[in-house]
Structures are given as structure tokens and as C-alpha cells.
């Protein structure tokens, strides 16, 4: 998507028609629009989002009013007053002209005016998009609505993008940008189609096939229900966790118990750390046992081996004493070491040949030596293994004791707070207890549901196999079975691609966000993309990673790093992976009040980075936001520059 121009007509502060052409040359792709407060910068940003998505940003006051007040005032009663905004852009070689308009008919009296319509009209290459095609769908195909806030944003509020309450939104955005969403949907919809094919098969199939297919369908329905419940559980847990944080914060703020809550926070932190250590120790114990536990059961086998070797030695078969190769060489040369000739058929040759059988024991000897070494090594390792197990066991016991003490202390605090005479305190504590109980019960339910899903999957796999094995009856049945098989293969292959995307794209995107974040921030914390595609800031401590709560400034940097890296990576992937990548490989950024409340150093770093990452940049700024380091860094990229001038009706203005 490359923005070419925006045109406004009677839109908010903009009376009459105003057109702004936007810079788009690759080396000078920045458009700067200067304006004092109230001159219309936020209005311009909102003109973009209103035209394209019918949306407004948080800072846009009275979003239901678009029509210029002066135009209304100048109209005569009963006259129609129009307002529109038009965005022209290019995408994949096509030219889009999107115009959203609204109007009023000026009333005769002072009654409240309600704007009519707000409809979007779209032309692609001068051809109007007509029903049944929908203009909104066409825009959505260029840049989905769910992603627009990452490309058209208010710099002062940019930190909200990565705040914890928005993590599911950002997770969805990342999934969309990385094509995970497309792949997941493809898998789900193919499964649905497969169910329809199965139904068809059941209708024309024999009674046994029908029965198995029916059973399979019931299981799939059950599984679907369980998966839906699992999603609900996750959402419920997230909501309870948020409530927990709120209640904990409220307790922390109460004078009387603030200190106790701080102590509890500390105990909770210690308890989490101890649980992590415990999990690590238990895992180590498991791994040690599964890797070397077999050794302790080998004592009998070792003794048996030694008996066998001793027997061979006592019988004089070991050591072999003569090498097979040596006997073979004598027979080949047909001369013995004593000088006798070893011609075919002679007695001497027969005697030497008889040594061949005996010399064969040499391989046994080598094996006995090799195994003897291994057996000795195993015997040496058995005490080491027990020592390690005991040490780990004792470490687990200690950790469990420590954890139990911590949990007792946490319980004591709970009892103390619940028994508080202050109703606020006891009420909040009771609430916290209920929330935690709900979280635990939901986690338990989640585990049960997870197990039930796996059981369903296993049963479905067995049924699938049985259905496949049933001989297809008739051509139609065979065709449907082929279609089902091909769909199965398609689902499996898309799943494999999904796994590759997950492993590669996520890691590369995370690395890019880190790289950009590191260039800007001087802190040791680094961004991390979790398995659920949530963006968090983590700090590496002695005992592992810990998620940190970033400041507003850090959130702003994190958001901008995220947007910058997404643009850079998606551009790269879309070109390289034409099938699964997004159709857009070029993204604009339109930012109002850039860099929010960042200090000078951060502003400089971000101002240096953003023009190199975004394909096109529109900056809406006041003098103070632009001058200095921002201007110095961005100036080489500026292709067009405008000043918004507000013509006030006030005489002394």
C-alpha cells in the first residue's frame, strides 16, 4: 500500500476542499505536516482511518461530528451540506480511490443535527466497486482493519499497543502479519469441508461405514466443543489474572497493609522462583533416570558376561593366540613357517587349515575386550548415578520444604488480612482468595479438558484408519474417499508449514524486534515473543528469565520497535514466500505527535530508524515535536513538507 494523496472537503477544521499530495519516492518518502495545536493534525490522521475503516483514534473528540461548522453556518435552512474525505493509494500496480462521505440537511430551527450516512465509495483503476462486491472488503484485502492501528497511530498513545490488556489484540495482529492466521483458518475450514465429505460418504456408504463415520463425526463435534471450552477457560483465566492484579494493587495502596502486601509480593516472587527451581530439579531427575537408570538393572547381566568370559579363558579358547589373517596368509603363500609346502590335498595343509577355525575365536576375543571395557565403565558409573540421584532428591526435598515454608507464610498473611478489622482490607483479601481459587479451579479444568481432547484425537485416529480400511463401494464412494484423503494430506501439509512458520518466522521476528530495541534502548531488558505471540519485555537473571513491567517510555520504544520490525520482516517474507505471505509488501506509517513523551536521546534514535524501516512515512507534528534531533535525523528523507494554518474567526487572533 502506497499512499498518494488525501483530499478533504468540509471535514472538521478543513473548510472547502484541501488536497495534500504525499511523498512516495523511495529515497525521499517522508511527508511532514506541521501544525500548531488545533490546526488539524489529529483530524488528518483520523481522515485516513475514517475513510479506510470508518474508525477514529482515541484522541479524536466528538467522533460523530465530521462536517465543518463554518460550512453549516453558511448554509441556508433546508440546504444540504456535504462533507467527504478521499484517500488515493496504489497497491500491487492498481490505483485505489476511496471516498467516505456524509451530509446533513440544515434544519429550520436549532434542533440537534445528526449526520447522515458515512458511506464508503471505492474505485479501482477508475472502475467503481459495485454490489455484490463490497468496498470495505477490498480495502480489508489490502490492509486488514485489525492491523490498521499499527500503521496509523497517535504517537502519544503508542505505548498502549503493547500494554498487557491489549496482548490478545497484538497477538492476533502478529499472527495475521506472519500468516499464521491464514494457515490456521485454512486448516479449520478444510476440516469443516472434510466433515461435509464424510457426511456425503455416510449417506452413500454401507451400514458399517455409516456407523463409523457417524461415530467419528460425534467425536469431532465433542472435540470442537472441548476446544471451544479451552479457549473460554484461557480467556477466563486472563480476566481473573487481571482482576488479581487490580486487587493486589489496591491492597498495596492501602496505608495499613501496604507493607504486608509488599512482603507478600516478595514471598510470592520467591515462591514462583522456588517452584521454577523445583520444576528444573524434577526435570533433571527425570532426565538422569531416563538416560542412565537402566544401568542399575544390569548387575546380573554383567555377572553373566564375566562368567562366560572366564569359562572361555579356562577352556583355553581365550586369548586366541593366533590371528586368522596369519593363517590365511600361510595358505595363500602355500608355505608354512617351518618351510613345509602347503599344497592342496597335503596333510600339512589340512593341519594348517584346521587352525582357521580356532583363529576365528579372535573376533570373540576382541568383543570380550571391548565389552569388558564397557562393563567396567558401567560399573563405575552406577555409584555416580546413585550419588547424583540422591543429590537431586535431596535438593528437591529442600526446595519442597522451602516452598512449604513460603506458602505457610503466604497463608499466614492471608489469614491476617482476612481477619483485619478494616472491612476494606478483609473484603479485598476475601475477593483475592476467591479469584485465586477460581484460577486454580480453571487450571484444573483446563488440564482435564486437554486430556479429553487428546482422548478424542486418539479415538478419531483409530476410526479414521478403520474407515480407510473399509473397501470403497462404487465409483462415487471411491471418489469421495480420494477427496477426503487429499484433504487430509492438505491439512497435514499446511500444519507442517504452520510449524515451520512458527519456528522460523517467530524467532526471526523476535530477533529483529530485539535488534531494533537494542539500538534504541540502553536498558538490559529485551523483547520476547511468547509461544502465544504475545510481546513482552524480559530481563535475564541468574536463575532464568523474568517478565518485567515496562515504563510508558519503554512501552513506546517497544511499540515502535515492533512496528518497525514487522514492516521490515513482512516485506521480506511477502517477497520470498509469495503463497503464504501477505499480498502487501509495502506499508506506510502515518503518525501523529511522534515519539510521545520520549526524551531527547530516544527521540533521536527512533527518528533515525523509522524512515529506514517504513516504506513511506507521514509525520504530523508541532514545532516542538519536530525541531532539533527529529528534524536533523529525518530531514534527508523528507520529500514533501506542509504547514497547516488555522484561520480563526476571532478578530484579535
Amino acid at each position: 500500500m502506497k499512499l498518494l494523496s488525501i483530499k478533504l472537503f468540509n471535514f472538521r477544521q478543513f473548510w472547502g476542499e484541501v488536497e495534500i499530495e504525499l511523498a512516495g519516492r523511495s529515497e525521499r518518502s517522508v511527508t511532514v505536516i506541521h501544525g500548531n495545536n488545533g490546526a488539524g493534525k489529529t483530524t488528518l490522521l483520523n481522515a485516513f482511518t475514517w475513510v479506510l475503516y470508518g474508525q477514529h483514534t482515541g484522541a479524536f473528540a466528538s467522533p460523530e461530528q465530521h462536517i465543518n461548522k463554518r460550512a453549516i453556518a453558511q448554509a441556508t435552512p433546508g440546504q444540504r451540506v456535504d462533507c467527504w474525505a478521499e484517500v488515493v493509494f496504489e497497491h500491487n500496480g492498481n490505483r485505489y480511490r476511496a471516498r467516505r462521505s456524509c451530509f446533513i440537511e440544515k434544519p429550520q430551527t436549532d434542533e440537534i443535527i445528526v449526520e447522515q450516512s458515512g458511506e464508503l465509495a471505492l474505485q479501482i483503476n477508475s472502475k467503481r466497486v459495485e454490489p455484490p462486491e463490497v468496498p470495505e472488503d477490498k480495502i480489508g484485502q489490502v490492509l486488514p482493519e485489525s492491523l490498521h492501528r499499527y500503521f496509523f497511530f497517535d504517537g502519544e498513545r503508542i505505548d498502549r499497543i503493547v500494554k498487557s490488556e491489549n496482548k490478545s489484540e497484538i497477538s492476533k495482529a502478529i499472527r495475521t502479519l506472519l500468516s499464521v492466521e491464514v494457515l490456521d483458518r485454512a486448516i479449520n475450514h478444510l476440516k469443516e469441508a472434510q466433515r461435509s465429505l464424510n457426511k456425503e460418504l455416510a449417506e452413500i456408504g454401507d451400514p458399517e461405514t455409516k456407523r463409523l463415520v457417524k461415530e467419528q463425526e460425534e467425536l469431532k463435534e465433542k472435540q470442537k466443543g472441548l476446544e471451544a471450552r479451552r479457549e473460554e477457560i484461557a480467556a477466563e483465566i486472563e480476566a481473573y489474572e487481571e482482576q488479581k492484579q487490580t486487587v493486589t494493587a489496591q491492597l498495596r495502596e492501602l496505608d495499613k497493609v501496604g507493607e504486608i502486601q509488599a512482603r507478600r509480593d516478595d514471598l510470592n516472587r520467591q515462591s514462583e522462583e522456588t517452584q521454577a527451581l523445583l520444576a528444573r530439579s524434577e526435570d533433571k531427575l527425570r532426565r538422569t533416570i531416563s538416560a542412565r537408570g537402566y544401568m542399575v538393572f544390569l548387575t546380573d547381566a554383567i555377572a553373566q558376561f564375566r562368567n562366560l568370559a572366564n569359562d572361555l579363558r579356562q577352556r583355553g579358547e581365550l586369548p586366541a593366540g593366533i590371528k586368522q589373517q596369519f593363517v590365511e596368509d600361510l595358505l595363500e603363500d602355500q608355505v608354512c613357517i617351518c618351510g613345509s609346502e602347503l599344497k592342496q590335498g597335503t596333510l600339512e595343509r589340512q593341519r594348517v587349515e584346521s587352525w582357521l577355525d580356532r583363529s576365528g575365536i579372535q573376533q570373540v576375543e576382541e568383543m570380550v575386550i571391548q565389552m569388558g571395557g564397557e562393563v567396567n565403565s558401567i560399573e563405575r558409573q552406577i555409584p555416580e548415578f546413585w550419588a547424583e540421584i540422591e543429590q537431586e532428591q535431596s535438593s528437591i526435598d529442600n526446595l519442597k520444604r522451602h516452598l512449604s515454608t513460603l506458602l505457610d507464610q503466604i497463608d499466614d498473611i492471608r489469614e491476617q488480612l482476612k481477619g483485619s478489622e478494616d472491612v476494606n482490607v478483609s473484603g479485598l483479601e476475601k475477593r483475592l482468595e476467591d479469584i485465586e481459587a477460581n484460577i486454580i479451579s480453571l487450571h484444573r479444568e483446563d488440564e482435564n479438558v486437554g486430556r479429553a481432547i487428546v482422548e478424542c484425537e486418539d479415538k478419531i485416529t483409530v476410526l479414521k484408519k478403520q474407515i480407510k480400511e473399509l473397501k470403497a463401494k462404487g465409483e462415487q464412494q471411491a471418489l469421495i474417499q480420494r477427496q477426503i484423503k487429499a484433504t487430509d494430506d492438505a491439512i497435514d501439509r499446511i500444519g507442517q508449514v504452520r510449524l515451520r512458520v512458527d519456528q522460523k518466522f517467530r524467532a526471526v521476528l523476535e530477533e529483529k524486534v530485539r535488534e531494533i530495541f537494542r539500538q534504541v534502548s540502553f536498558k538490559t531488558q529485551v523483547p520476547k515473543l511468547t509461544e502465544n505471540y504475545e510481546l513482552v519485555l524480559v530481563e535475564t537473571l541468574m536463575d532464568g528469565e523474568s517478565v518485567v513491567a515496562p515504563s510508558t517510555g519503554e512501552n513506546q520504544i517497544l511499540s515502535l520497535s515492533f512496528i518497525g520490525s514487522i514492516i521490515e520482516r513482512v516485506r521480506y517474507w511477502s517477497k520470498k514466500h509469495s503463497l503464504i505471505g501477505l499480498d502487501s509488501s509495502s506499508f506506510p506509517i502515518v503518525m501523529d505527535s511522534p515519539f510521545g513523551t520520549l526524551d531527547e536521546n530516544y527521540r533521536r534514535q527512533i527518528a533515525r530508524l523509522i524512515p529506514t524501516l517504513a516504506d513511506q512515512l507521514v509525520v504530523l507534528a508541532t514545532k516542538t515535536q519536530w525541531r532539533g534531533e527529529v528534524e536533523t535525523e529525518m530531514e534527508p528523507y523528507v520529500g514533501k513538507e506542509y504547514v497547516l494554518v488555522f484561520n480563526s474567526a476571532k478578530p484579535d487572533c
Binding site: E136, D137, I139, G140, Q141, P144, E145, S146, T176, E181, V182, L183, R185, A186, H189, L190, E192, A193, S196, L197, L479, R482, Q483, A486, T487, D489, A490, R493, I494, Q496, V497, L499, R500, V501, Q503, K504, F505, H577, L579, I580, L582, D583
Partner: protein
């Protein structure tokens, strides 16, 4: 589980022709409807499968 993810689209490129056709067309369809939260594509997908495997 680890995979050789050097070529992300390899499982699609190595699929039998009819399966590859299904995958390509389904992904194209899903991309077209990505902006919609609940796309109604079930019938179209069924048609893709039936067209690809005759």
C-alpha cells in the same frame, strides 16, 4: 520437534498435484477473506476440493 525449515513452503511444493492445488486455492481464498472475522468460505472450499480431485 525440530524441522528443516529452510524452505517454509516445501511441504506444499512437494505435495501431489491435486493436493497442492487444494492448498494453493484454499490459502488464496483465506487471504482474500482475512479481513473478515467469520468468513463464509465452507462451500467455496468444498468446491475447491471437488474441482481438484475428480
Amino acid at each position: 520437534m525440530t524441522v528443516d525449515s529452510n524452505d517454509i513452503e516445501e511441504p506444499i511444493k512437494t505435495a501431489p498435484p491435486e493436493v497442492e492445488k487444494i492448498i494453493r486455492e484454499v490459502i488464496r481464498l483465506e487471504k482474500e477473506h482475512l479481513h473478515s472475522d467469520r468468513p463464509r468460505v465452507k462451500a467455496d472450499i468444498l468446491e475447491i476440493i471437488k474441482d481438484s480431485v475428480r
